[in-house]
Symmetry: D2
Subunit: 445 residues, 4 copies
């Protein structure tokens, strides 16, 4: 029997931590845990203590004897870790507010992981993931890094390709949500379906085959605009054009709406912004309410409210992935991992989000084969945008950041493009040391 | 000494034919011509006769004895041709008016070779190039096809890759115009410069090195927004963002403005449209005036007015290319030809517009090597858009046409996208037999 | 519950058919069978009737009611088949005798699936697989084709890439035998191991990871020259050079001995030939003895002798694969299937032999990633040799056949090369209609 | 007018230096020279002084005033160089004797640039080219490195890809000799022909087109086995199999005989070795005689004998290349340069030997497009062998050296393979510091 594991969660003060605890508790028989460390920073001290308290109460109410530690000392926590999960948010929700507000003020999409906001989030996050890996190399050189900090694909690409941590797997709840909805839509048992996902994080397509090898994709496309069609709750459901989907014969992901129905999505987002401010501001309120709940020392389960949020199932995917590695389960999951030819029109060392087999040997991607021509073009362009973004995040190269902005279809290519980039850089100055020279120059101007 | 050649020009009634004649006359010593056939269709009968008359007068005023034939019988003309040039326009300027008007009415770019208009032009033109090649296979199986019918890149890709006419070379005046301007900007003798162009038609970049191997690209970038910076006269000169160009360290082509400064270009185009209608309507007037001039039996030279038009130097490039082949000159030209690895991020069998050596053996592209990441993404996306467009043009597949529209950055991805496509299909019904079933369905609805 | 299936075996008169029956019997609960058709040709009539009798007795002795049909009418058999397995041998063992004898007489390797013999077998077999597929297209358009006729990789490539039967899976016993041996060598439970195979049929490498993700490859390499190291019984176990294997850190397949220890293998093969004639002649004797056994109407189980032959576990692999498809098992198997990027240094449409997940949707290959440089070179060269061989088999192009011969490392590049090719073509005239013109020319000379 | 240049020749004591001088003298009008430095090592002191004396006499007899310096101080020489040419031989002819003798004793090919000998030469030479580049980076950071030290392709790949000296061009006389012979064979003016070379050093193919674009390749293939068919004098002219060449429709290079007619070439080489010892020993004698001639202070021209040696035209190619760069000539030459897609089945960063345009901007390779399948396989395998060899040369990795040996078709894959490698390593101990640990181990055993 294998030894029980030590789990470390960076950004442990997240409101989603109870989902993570619940996920571990229900998998404990396959995944015995020695201890759990919730790490946060000074600004998150109160939150990590509150949620750490709830976490401990959840374990205490379970049949299992697991100690939950909370700490602001990342290095202490990382020592001898087996699995490190990342769910931190550099600059907290206040930074997200800026990511969403500034583009919106110029009539662009203000969104957390797509468009200008997603790129800025990458700029802030990638240097931090580099620091975490530097610590891991020293303190837990054999640990797995399970990343679900957004933008999950770019952060995972930086971790594997640039910081060299091969044992990184990136996660997202979008494939999970689709794979929860589709068996119901098709009237099938989930275990009978065969999935083939290919793309990158928040920009992937998939096909589904049934227990007889029949391609269910055409049938599922017809359900795509339904309420329970598999799109995460936090994405506005503008109608996909059906003839487009029928032509490609692939199921898009929910985030494709930002690209395939761009103007409608933008109009809706701007209207929402004008009426209710940014999503992040709403999240802040929700979080406040959640932490009030968490303080209740009578509470020892995950509150129901958490399941209805856009981030639901992220933590569950992480637990599922960790169990599959630990227990060598060889199961299908959709994860961000090194391409290695799985999508043959992208480089071998790109990070892609694809159907993979998860075992003790890590994520083994399944070869998808050729994409139809339009999807190939979309994907190559988006990957190029990611590469420029990551490059800019690593080096603070302003020109490269501008190239990423101009290439991104959700940023209008205009004189405001550069202005939005500049305002965002200045607004996030505290978290963008790599851009400090340019930011000084912008502030001086 | 090689034999004098027979040249056939499809779309011979074009107002640009005098430039073509002038080009041949000034190269006659290296490129002796036996006879020239100007071919047109019934609707172009009057024009081909007028311009054919001028063409004959131009030759008669030259030291050379060349007979110009005008005909509506393409097959008669093609018999034993050595070089076939194509400058036809399916549906004439009236079709172009629709290509420009309909998208404009929906707030999209209405342009001849980019965006929705360019795609529709491809839909109309590609089947006709297929018919011409079918005739050539029978009547002049060894002839070279020198294409400058727009969209020149897509038409050339269809000719080579789909209709199998390997001896096709595609031309455009955009590289010519840049290579005319840049020596002046750099204070250099044109023959001293070394050019490295890479991309596709109307979407290429280049680098320039001087006689010492010094990279002049950074210096020339600083001149790019100047009046005589190398952009064709017909493209509005919105300012390129300098930090973007400095970052990529490549000289964009004039048409890149539609992509890099998209909103400004669109705003300007829509304003122009509101004020003066479509470009095509202005062209129609200009053409009318030109043909009035051409009728003058005293005229036996190319009128000066022609040089100021957007299409200037197209014919000259064709003459230059034909001479280089005939006289085995091994000179540098920028042409559309089979990639074969010249741009390693595109397929070997894609048609690209690159620096090539032109000789009796045809166009030999020079290997450009890796593009920077953003440009790679742009190019792969645009090539995918071209592939979908060509596929739709060949098959009449409506879904594929829609995929091309949604992928094209100059078409807004919205419910109007499909409406614009539908209106354009119906408007061009006469020239789109491959789409007839869908058009009937649209008309019935 | 799914319906019971109809299984058709082309080359049903093979001495291995009892293994196939045993395989189906032991899997019947997961794979219910309606009827089994054993198809053979006139020359195999007696054998198919003998083995068909044994087959029926085996089923009659089982708890299951399955009818075994024997027929010489392939089309009758194929009607409404669900799975077609191919184990035929064009020209029977007499053809194999020639494949082995003629190269041996010139001091070259005479082997069934490698070197000159394997190429000639491809020349004879590929046209026949084309005919079978032509019949299947008409008579059982939804059937799976499970090929284990050798050379299994090239025959599968012809079936999928050239004859267009996408639902083809190619099998071999070499990976099976390795995966039977290695758990014992490593002291592990078979289900705990994680395999990563990559290459082409009879020329693949693999890595093995244990239940903790530990790479067992280095440890298993040290066992490779042991008697039970995982090499099929029919391959002489010349010693692999250990420093070579340690450098590549991949487990080679048994057939790699012909390449990595070429001279020793050749010397041994020639000695065997001088002493005992060809393998095929020995097989003929063995087969004769087996069929004597099979005639015994008291026999209703697979005789033990069969398990010791080189072809053991081929049929078992076929049964395993068919069950995995039928029962949508999503299990790991090593099969020949379309590359699709799994081995990124080969074309997407090449057929490769790789770790795949087998389900109702067919074989989904797992992306292996980059091979080390030497193995990449070996593999690309061998795939090119296969491509030339297949091309020659399809067209009868003698020059292409010669290119394949000269490229194949097991054929000495010498004046005898061409002579051996010529003699083999003439010797197999009856089965090489595509080469008939060249053969007449050779015979006339 | 550009400034006169400083030229530095590493290995200046070579017997070929007079050819280099002659080449510069006859090109002086286009390529004015300031000074020439002949650099050698202590062991070459006498030779460099003798040949330096002749060199100076040659210039003194010319109309040009050029000073020739001889030195053992490489760094002094490199200071402010414009062009550095490399023609050194690590270990001198004595090392080559070992390269040729040891494999021959085991019945393998003992040849200077192919097989075991070529690989060992790479092991000795690559570290030295690294040292030269280290000096150049400091002392002449803008200089061009014109390499014709063998194995020219691998040395050039190391220089560009591993040591990062982008301004390196590799040369060889094989293409030159072919391009001298073929116009005569075809009855054409050299300037009328269009060449398309593709491959790697000593392993390339080409096509030739005439002034009408007609493919002369088939016609020239028929002359390939003739005495003046374009093969360098030092390669035994075993007959190429004509049907092989007709099938590929490419002209092989002379060195392809070692691969396409392997056994005959090997038999001949071994016979030559038994009768006359190694080539290197003969060269030693020839060199001795040449240096006797060079000592003659009356001699002030290149002696005729030099032109008949295998290395003739190497120096001339170097002069031609340097002039083309200096004078920005934009001419066709066949050189080793970075692939960049020119041969699309090899990596972009591989060094290939291809038709290129040479100008002040360096070598711009022309895209060749797809090779036929067999040649693709040959080339990919040979490039992989080169990659392993270079890797071993850089790191002293014995396993990698062994992988290169086993992959090389000119080394028999046998137990002797490793023995030959071991003996060669020990024999060259003095020049293989990177392998010292392994060599000590071998010597101890
Ligand atoms: Mn996500
Ligand atoms: Mn143009
Ligand atoms: Mn096999
Ligand atoms: Mn050479």
């Amino acid at each position: 029997m294998k030894e029980a594991v030590k789990i470390v969660t960076i950004g442990g003060g997240s409101s989603y931590t109870p989902e993570l605890m619940e996920g571990f508790i229900k998998r404990y028989e396959d995944l015995p845990i020695r201890e759990i460390w919730l790490v946060d920073i000074e600004d998150g001290k109160e939150k990590v203590e509150i949620v750490g308290g709830l976490a401990q109460r959840m374990w205490d109410a379970s049949p299992y004897d697991v100690k939950v530690y909370t700490t602001l000392d990342r290095r202490e926590a990382l020592k001898d870790a087996d699995f490190v999960t990342t769910q931190f948010r550099v600059g907290l929700l206040d930074a997200r507010i800026k990511d969403e507000r500034i583009p919106s003020l110029y009539g662009m999409l203000g969104q957390e992981t797509n468009g200008a906001g997603g790129m800025l989030k990458a700029f802030r996050t990638i240097p931090v993931i580099g620091e975490i890996i530097r610590d891991m190399r020293e303190l837990c050189p054999d640990a797995w890094l399970i990343n679900f900090t957004n933008p999950s694909g770019m952060v995972t690409e930086a971790a594997i390709k640039h910081f060299g941590w091969k044992k990184t797997i990136g996660l997202c709840n979008v494939p999970t949500i689709a794979m929860m909805a589709e068996p119901k839509l098709a009237g099938k048992d989930p275990k009978d379906l065969n999935y083939r996902f290919a793309g990158i994080n928040h920009f992937h397509w998939h096909k589904v085959f049934d227990e007889n090898g029949k391609d269910l994709t055409p049938e599922l496309i017809e359900h795509i605009n339904e309420k329970n069609g598999g799109t995460p709750a936090n994405i506005y459901q503008a109608e996909f054009p059906m003839e487009l989907l029928r032509s490609m014969n692939l199921l898009p992901c929910g985030y494709h709406r930002y690209y395939y129905v761009k103007q409608t999505m933008l109009d809706h987002a701007l209207e929402e912004f004008r009426e209710g401010g940014t999503r992040a501001e709403q999240m802040k309120q929700t979080e406040k309410e959640l932490f009030e709940l968490y303080k209740n020392t009578e509470l020892h389960t995950k509150p129901e409210q958490l399941s209805k949020r856009g981030g639901a199932y992220y933590s569950d995917a992480a637990c599922e992935c960790i169990r599959a590695i630990y227990a060598n389960q060889k199961i299908h999951m959709v994860v961000s991992t090194q391409n290695n030819g799985a999508i043959s029109c992208l480089d071998d060392d790109s990070i892609v989000e694809v159907s993979s087999i998860i075992s003790a040997a890590g994520a083994q991607p399944m070869a998808f084969g050729k994409l139809p021509p339009a999807e190939k073009g979309w994907l190559q362009m988006m990957k190029a945008m990611e590469e420029c973004t990551i490059q800019a995040a690593l080096t603070g190269d302003y020109g490269m950041a501008l190239e990423a902005f101009v290439l991104n279809p959700l940023v209008e290519n205009n004189k405001d493009t550069q202005r939005v980039l500049d305002e965002l850089l200045v607004a996030h100055e505290k978290y963008l040391p790599q851009f400090s020279e340019k930011i000084q120059e912008l502030k001086a101007a």
